[in-house]
């Protein structure tokens, strides 16, 4: 039994519709936070972006594992695209986080927060992926080296994700505890829709970018075959 992928056009329109719905819910439905005021609205974009960055790095690692397990060449581009998008969302996480930190704590960055530092380590680790990848000649060797590196990085994701709980960090807020989300129902609904919209947007970006890279690779092969 084969599962056909949903059409990219449908997904793109779905992402646009969900993003619009998320914006309405964030700014018209979700109440203002009693403690942080209006600046708490950054939560609805910062946290989903960070979770999407983790998901993209995780996807890159999963595809890397598939490459190593099956030797399927197509997984190399899929892993690379996942890591690339993870890095884009990683930049966004750091920038939106810095803006929120300035609004809430009065500083752009603090080295005393383990979660911030560990996310930066994770981000820099995956930045080095590109240096490694482009320092090796294209081919099977580069595919394997890149895959092993992408797979190693995934170990940093749970460390970064759970750092706040492990380190008892009092600076970075913990919204999701064992008792559930520490927010109102409207806030949680707005967060979920925002998270779904950003995840869907990232998936659309993944599919578009992957299609572009595959066309590029096919064109290179065609050029080699056609040119005298």
């Amino acid at each position: 039994m084969s599962i056909t992928k949903p059409s990219l056009t449908v997904l793109a329109w779905g992402a646009a519709a969900l993003t619009t719905l998320a914006a309405v819910m964030i700014f018209a439905l979700a109440p203002e936070d009693a403690d942080q005021g209006f600046s708490q609205k950054i939560f609805y974009v910062h946290v989903p972006i960070a979770l999407t960055a983790y998901a993209c790095f995780g996807l890159g690692a999963w595809k890397a594992y598939r490459l190593l397990a099956t030797r399927g060449e197509r997984y190399d581009l899929e892993s690379y695209t996942g890591v690339h998008l993870g890095t884009i969302f990683g930049v966004l996480t750091l920038v939106t986080g810095a803006i929120w930190a300035k609004a809430s704590w009065g500083v752009w960055w603090t080295w005393s927060s383990n979660q911030l530092v560990l996310f930066l380590v994770l981000f820099l680790f995956y930045c080095a992926y590109f240096m490694l990848r482009f320092s090796v000649e294209p081919g099977a060797r580069r595919e394997r080296i890149s895959a092993v590196y992408a797979l190693f990085g995934v170990a940093l994701i749970p460390v970064s994700f759970f750092a706040i709980r492990l380190a008892n960090d009092f600076i970075h807020p913990t919204v999701f505890t064992r008792e559930g989300p520490q927010m109102t129902g409207e806030m949680f609904a707005a967060f979920c829709v925002s998270w779904a919209s950003i995840t869907l947007l990232a998936y659309v970006m993944y599919r578009v970018e992957l299609a572009g890279k595959r066309i590029d690779a096919n064109l290179r092969d065609l050029r080699e075959a056609l040119q005298p």
Binding site: Q36, G37, F38, S39, K41, I42, V45, H46, I49, I88, V91, L92, V95, T96, I99, W100, K102, A103, L201, M205, V208, E209, G212, I215, D216, L219, L222, R223, L226, Q227
Partner: protein, 55 residues
């Protein structure tokens, strides 16, 4: 505009700008791919008939 509103506008603005930059980069790439596909189509048409049949 209060300072809280400015920070919120900056955070959402950064997100929108990064997505737009990504779209612009992709549009540039698409234009390059279109150009290269055209060149390859011209190359394929210019090949002698016998060579095309040989592959």
């Amino acid at each position: 505009m209060s300072s809280g509103e400015k920070y919120v506008a900056a955070a959402y603005g950064v997100f929108v700008v990064v997505v737009l930059v990504w779209v612009a980069i992709l549009a540039t790439k698409l234009a390059r791919l279109e150009r290269e596909t055209g060149e390859l189509a011209r190359l394929a048409r210019a090949r002698p008939a016998g060579e095309q049949a040989d592959g």
